[in-house]
Structure formats: structure tokens, C-alpha cells
């Protein structure tokens, strides 16, 4: 009984709004494709709710990244003024970024220049801080988009027989 109520709720909300985020009470322009909607509508109640939650979590992750991006770009990125505090400031700044991105960038910079990114003179690094922060966010957003795509393509194929 609970399952059929659940299913009805999901199907009704999806057909009305066509967005997964609205099922979570969070309006968003992000739309799921037709095959995914059909598949969710055909699933059992608990399963549909769980799948919706997972897809929603992926989309939420993308939105969090977008918000983070705006926040980090909106605030001015600066390093400590004293020379002694600068290396720690650079390291703290790098620690806030996507570790995989920092790892890849550090390795390539070290290979090209022979200098560790965290040891770069602040005068060189400072004009690039906003760009580095933005690039880190773009790097993460690509990953999040890929993950959301994995869900969609898997759903599409799982529902392809019914849709055909």
C-alpha cells in the first residue's frame, strides 16, 4: 500500500514538473529525458523513489558545484600579505580545491618548470588564483556531468525494450 502510494506520488510529480529536483521540493531547470521519466513511471514505488533519490543526488551535486563556483569566484582570492605567511596561504588555498585537479596541475607544473606549485612565488601565483579556482570547479563539474550521464544512459538502455 505504501509502495503504491509512493509510486503514484513520484509519477504524478514527474508528469507535472518533468524535473527530478521538484520531487525533492527544489525547483530546477534541469530536465530528465523522456526515457528516464518513462522508466521511473514503470518502476515499483520504493524502487522509483530510491532511483529518484539517487538521480536527484547527482543533480544536487552538480548544483552544489555551480553554487560553490559562484561563491569562490565572487569572493576575492587573496594571499596573506606577509612573505612568511604566503607559503602557508598558498597551501591552504590549494587544499580547498579538488584534490585530483591539484594533483594533476602540480605534476604538470613540476614537470614543465621544475618547481612545485606550492613553492611558486606568490607574486607569480596571485594573478592566477581566481583562474585556478575556476578551473578546479570546471574540472569537478565535468566529472559530475559524466556521473549523471552514466545514470541516464544506463536507465535509457534498461528501459529501451519497453519504449521500443
Amino acid at each position: 500500500m505504501a509502495d503504491s502510494n509512493n509510486k503514484e506520488f513520484v509519477v504524478k510529480r514527474l508528469s507535472k514538473s518533468e524535473t527530478l529536483d521538484e520531487v525533492h521540493g527544489k525547483p530546477s531547470p534541469r530536465r530528465v529525458n523522456k526515457a528516464t521519466r518513462e522508466l521511473l513511471a514503470q518502476m515499483g514505488g520504493q524502487e522509483a523513489a530510491e532511483t529518484t533519490r539517487k538521480l536527484g543526488a547527482q543533480i544536487d551535486a552538480e548544483k552544489r558545484l555551480a553554487r560553490l563556483d559562484k561563491r569562490s569566484l565572487a569572493k576575492e582570492v587573496t594571499l596573506p600579505e606577509t612573505a612568511e605567511a604566503q607559503p602557508a596561504g598558498i597551501e591552504a588555498f590549494l587544499n580547498e580545491l579538488e584534490p585530483e585537479f591539484v594533483g594533476a596541475l602540480s605534476a604538470e607544473v613540476r614537470e614543465k618548470s621544475g618547481v612545485d606549485l606550492k613553492d611558486f612565488p606568490a607574486a607569480v601565483l596571485e594573478p592566477f588564483l581566481a583562474l585556478i579556482a575556476k578551473s578546479s570547479q570546471e574540472f569537478s563539474a565535468l566529472e559530475a556531468q559524466h556521473e549523471a550521464g552514466v545514470y541516464e544512459v544506463t536507465f535509457d538502455q534498461a528501459g529501451a525494450a519497453k519504449a521500443a
Binding site: 522508466l39 518502476m43 515499483g44 524502487e47 530510491e50 532511483t51 539517487k54 585537479f101 594533476a104 596541475l105 604538470e108 607544473v109 614543465k112 618548470s113 618547481v115 606549485l117 611558486f120 612565488p121 607574486a123 607569480v124 601565483l125 594573478p127 592566477f128 583562474l131 585556478i132 578551473s135 570546471e138 574540472f139 565535468l142 566529472e143 556531468q145 559524466h146 556521473e147 550521464g149 552514466v150 545514470y151 544512459v153 544506463t154 536507465f155 538502455q157 534498461a158 528501459g159 529501451a160 525494450a161 519497453k162
Partner: protein, 87 residues
């Protein structure tokens, strides 16, 4: 049984481990009927192809971001070092 079949298809897929985990997670969220549909070899191969293409595209774009930034930083460092030596 579908689980064994899934594991075999995943092992043959050549997909990256995190992508395999994701497909596995979504597989277990499907009804048994849907699981069987997804395990159809041709359909599964399409999933694998799409995911691998997406992964390669993402990797290329991520590498471009890193290459561009690393080039800019290296050039800026070289300019700064030249200025220091000249001073």
C-alpha cells in the same frame, strides 16, 4: 544469476572502476525485469560504449584545462625569474 552475469559483463567492459561501481549501483536499483533487459549483451555494450566515450571526452577536457593552466603558470614563472635575474 543476473549478478554473476553483470559481473562478467562489467569485467569484460574495460570501463573504469568508478564507472563500473555506478552501473552496479543502478543495476541493483532496477526491478528484476529491467535487470534482465539491461543484461542483454547488445544493450549492455551500448551502455559501455556511451560511458567509455563520455569518460574519454571528460578526460580530454580535464587534460586541456590542466595543460592550459600549467602552460600559463610556467610562462609566468619564467618571466618572473628573468625579471629577477635582470634586476
Amino acid at each position: 544469476m543476473p549478478n554473476t552475469q553483470l559481473e562478467q559483463l562489467l569485467a569484460e567492459s574495460g570501463m573504469e572502476i568508478p564507472d563500473q561501481h555506478q552501473v552496479r549501483r543502478i543495476f541493483f536499483a532496477l526491478t528484476q525485469e529491467r535487470q534482465v533487459e539491461l543484461l542483454d549483451r547488445r544493450r549492455f555494450e551500448r551502455v559501455v560504449r556511451n560511458i567509455r566515450e563520455s569518460r574519454e571526452r571528460v578526460r580530454r577536457e580535464q587534460e586541456t584545462i590542466v595543460h592550459t593552466l600549467a602552460d600559463d603558470l610556467t610562462e609566468a614563472l619564467a618571466r618572473w625569474q628573468a625579471q629577477q635575474q635582470a634586476a
